[in-house]
Symmetry: C2
Subunit: 302 residues, 2 copies
């Protein structure tokens, strides 16, 4: 039994287009309609036959949908919801894929107070953007965190969870606030740090940018991948999850100062002890299938 | 014409064992002897037939060597040089693979003032350690930076450079001090930041360590790879290149504070502008062959 027969996807970037592909691959009888505010994206989506139908307005996209998934930057969720409000069937379930959940839930509830809103967050992605960057397998063996508001309809929650399972994800339920704290450390802080270090490295007087690029295999290149992620999406994430991000940033800065002091005072034992602890975390991540065991991310050496 | 007929490798970890394999593969007639201070490592090296001969003392390893390559942690270079000093032929060339060059050059010069010392740094590695982690292709299409001291014998410099070319590396010459500044930003700072963030994430009260591991695909896991690098090696690097590392760390901290302030004051434009700039750097790194163009480091999604 399919969780939904007709799914509307608003926003056809990396995640929205991957979801469209994944649904059509896993559930070929589901009708998938798509809309993107950018006419160029709609044209590409049509050219690559991404959905059963790509509409020219958001309203037309949702008019007979059983599920609407908003796949737009997190601070654009409220506006996207407002755009579909008039055409949205009363019984439709509204979900999204945003990286912050409390702020998005507040935006959607304000605009669609009478609808069943079941936010979700597939913890998956790449550094690329746009409808052509998506692929059906993006969500396989990745977690999708569903964050139903208090009092949510259990049947609607289960249908949203089932949709994600069908496209290959493992589903967890979480309180929206707790989600935002967990993701602040596992995703938002790492992105912020990566953006910062890449910015720092590109503005030096003693070292040229071409030297930074040339010798990036010493470690720097790893950070540039994350720092190539979509600028609009990430601007919105940091502003929408401000409190948790600032809290994690403060802790990180304190730890960095402690390490700086250890270097200045030649405290090799403090460095060695930290570096030994961090090595164990990597091992757990690989053991739990959250990263490839191949050394150097399995990069080719040929 | 081979650059050296007999090469001694002191230290059979990731880099030393990769170099042994690479030399034997690219130049099968070169005699490669190896030594490691750890008897267990020597036993493994013998069991996997890593070298033509694995000796039980450092002195025996170098006794007829034309080139000695020290592949030990950077602060152990002086002691390793002292251990071979008596047995080292006068005409042997001494090199190393350390990630800091000024400090290593000073250590080696103090111990072996009359030898030809030609330090080098292959900018290559993985997060794994030990003789079994090495592989012959590690240096292919990676840069090896040779940092001859002022007045170095040009023939010796060229022979060391040629050895690295033969194992697949591209060679650049650089002044030791400039090398240390460039690597502080492209390698040492990224490692320090990665170690810090992994430490921060593993010591939170509101988020459990198992949650951090579980949802690490949101970005955090990328940092754990680098933070799994050899603790002894990296402790030594930060202490041996202290001035450049502290300088880069200071700049990074200032940039991080600026970003923190932009988030606190909702300055979305400042965030967007930085995130757009950093995206371009990634593109250059991929274009110049310093990283894989495949999204998500080419991680498998199956």
């Amino acid at each position: 039994m399919l969780p939904f027969a007709r799914v509307a996807i608003i926003g056809l970037g990396l995640i929205g287009s991957s979801l469209a592909r994944a649904i059509r691959e896993a559930m070929p009888t589901v009708r998938v309609t798509g809309y993107d505010a950018d006419p160029d994206v709609r044209a590409v989506a049509r050219a690559i036959d991404l959905c059963d139908d790509v509409t020219d307005t958001a309203g037309a996209c949702v008019t007979d949908a059983e599920l609407v998934v908003l796949c737009v930057p997190v601070r654009a969720m409220g506006a996207a919801a407002a755009e579909i409000a008039v055409d949205l069937p009363d019984e439709a379930v509204i979900s999204d894929v945003g990286s912050c959940k409390a702020d998005v839930l507040a935006q959607l509830t304000a605009v669609l107070p009478d609808h069943r809103i079941i936010p979700a967050h597939p913890v998956a992605g790449t550094e690329n953007s746009g409808p052509e960057a998506g692929f059906a397998r993006l969500f396989r063996r990745r977690w999708c965190i569903v964050t139903p508001p208090a009092g949510a309809d259990p049947a609607a929650v289960e249908r949203v969870a089932e949709l994600w399972r069908r496209v290959g994800a493992d589903v967890e339920m979480m309180d929206p606030q707790h989600h935002d704290l967990v993701l602040a450390v596992t995703s938002h802080l790492p992105h912020l740090i990566a953006y910062t270090i890449v910015g720092t490295a590109s503005d030096l007087e003693g070292v040229t940018r071409s030297e930074v690029i040339k010798y990036s295999a010493g470690g720097f290149r790893d950070f540039t991948r994350i720092a190539a992620s979509d600028p609009t999406m990430w601007r919105d994430v940091f502003l929408a999850n401000k409190d948790a991000v600032l809290e994690m940033l403060q802790r990180f800065s304190e730890d960095l100062s402690a390490l700086q002091r250890a270097i200045r005072w030649n405290d090799g034992d403090a460095l060695f002890n930290l570096f030994t602890r961090t090595r164990a975390i990597r091992r757990s991540i690989v053991e739990q299938g959250q990263d490839d065991p191949a050394p150097d991310f399995g990069r080719r050496h040929d």
